[in-house]
């Protein structure tokens, strides 16, 4: 039997698909890539993986032809299928190349189409929400810089507490006032948000020319209010430039002291 060249990974939101893929990528000794179709202009996981594994290509929608070329050159592909996609989305590819199907599922879920679909079931973590009721809201925020105090209010006090609908999962990458970029990850099953600084240089010269954005999965999402509130968290050009100037001066004085 030939070595699988495509590993397709599916499961409910928050079950740990991306985490499992990251573990595999970290252990990969052969050339590999990551592709998550259907994420449109909000490629959060791609951005995180690209930052973590600089040598691994990450592909987004519209780059399918590159995917084919890589596969033909023997590069292994990890394809993540979000819950919002049909499991047959990449079936043609899976039929055309040696492949395996991994379903990352929490133990409490039984007899789903993911079980039927997977060659291998990997035990994932607890999730919340019924798939049929879930909707997804995404918004790119590239070029915007967020006020940290406003972000705290929006994320911790309101959004994750249900002010804009019942949230099951939320992921985001935001540029904040001091030039750093942060990744936020909320899972309702655990009622907590993990956040970490992205391994990227501070952006202190005008509007950041790099990706940032948010993806929320939940029920009865008030998309208009979400969009408006997020917009209200952003700094004006003048204040953003003022912050950048202050941070640059502060960093300079630290360097001089050292």
């Amino acid at each position: 039997m030939s070595q699988p060249i495509i590993t397709a990974v599916a499961g409910p939101p928050g079950s740990g698909k991306t985490t499992w893929i990251r573990q595999q990528l970290a252990a990969e000794t052969c050339p590999a890539l990551y592709f998550s179709p259907g994420t449109g202009n909000v490629p959060i996981d791609q951005t995180c993986i690209a930052a973590e594994f600089g040598q691994i290509p990450t592909l987004t929608d519209g780059e399918e032809s590159q995917l084919l070329k890589h596969l033909q050159n023997g590069v292994s592909a990890y394809i993540e299928l979000g819950f919002y996609l049909q499991l047959t989305t990449v079936e043609n590819l899976l039929q055309s190349f040696p492949s395996r199907r991994i379903a990352v599922l929490p133990p409490e879920i039984k007899d789903t189409e993911w079980h039927q679909w997977g060659d291998l079931i990997v035990e994932g973590i607890a999730v919340s929400g019924e798939r049929e009721k879930l909707s997804i809201w995404r918004s790119p925020t590239s070029g915007q810089v967020l006020d940290p105090a406003s972000l705290d209010l929006f994320w911790y006090e309101e959004m994750t507490q249900g002010a804009y609908g019942k949230i099951h999962r939320a992921k985001a990458i935001f540029d904040i006032a001091d030039g750093r970029s942060f990744y936020f990850d909320f899972a309702a099953a655990f009622q907590e948000t993990a956040h970490e600084e992205m391994p990227l240089p501070r952006w202190l010269e005008g509007r950041p020319q790099r990706f940032s954005g948010i993806e929320i999965i939940g029920e009865n999402l008030d998309e208009t209010a979400l969009g408006q509130t997020l917009e209200d968290c952003c700094l004006s050009e003048t204040i953003m430039l003022n912050y950048q100037q202050q941070v640059k001066q502060s960093l300079l004085s630290v360097e001089e002291t050292e």
Binding site: D147, A149, S150, L153, F154, E157, E158, Q161, D232
Partner: protein, 271 residues
Amino acid sequence: MKIAAMSCIHGNYEALNAVLSDIDEQKADKIFCLGDLVGYGPHPHAVVEMIRSLDIPTCVGCWDEDIVEGLNSCECSYPSVLAEKRGKLAHEWTNSQIFPETREYLATLPHSLREDNMCFVHGSPHSNHEYLLPTMDAFSALERVFSAGADVLFCGHTHVPYVRTLDAGNMQFRVSGPSIEGDKDLSFTAPLKRIVNVGSVGEPRHGRPNATYVIYDVDAQQVMLREVQYDYQATCAAILEKGLPPIFAWRLARGLEYAERADDPTHVCER
């Protein structure tokens, strides 16, 4: 003699009614109001009318001041860009709803009120925008009470009630100089002082939607923090009906305050 002290009604007529009924039950002899009659809530005019009709001595709050003078506070009014945008939206809405006679009444409100050894202010004796948080250092807190010339200072503005007793006010200092022979050691012991924050009637921030105020027994010098349930859902419905942001209703129902929060006890407003 028992007095009732309340603050920060913020256009919440339902909450005000419930608190006035509770004050009646507590048999308070006199009521004092520490300002912020308007702002955020859906019934600014009705609240002012009620306070006026009952002839309740009232000092001016920062929101009342903003309606009279326009927005001119320093950045301390808003701890975040989001809070600032919401606050300005609420200000513009309130400003558009206020009747001229209501505005005129707000313009007559004094900065502070006195009754025997008690002083009543909205924020602090220095500014309606200053937060006397319970974490403020004792020296500054004592200074605020002294500057009011009172033994008990009643305030609001933070929307979270508390009682702080300042009973260890002792200062020792040494004076020296060319015209003084040797060093001169002096000490000063402050008499017992109190700060009583009366919480908020219409916009609580203690994690529950209930209104809070204070009953003070002047003779026994006892403070009773009162928490009063009211039909907050009626206020939430009015917020939506009047076209105010739905997030105000969501926050009110959870005792989160509409938008502002005090987070820097060391800041002195530059207004």
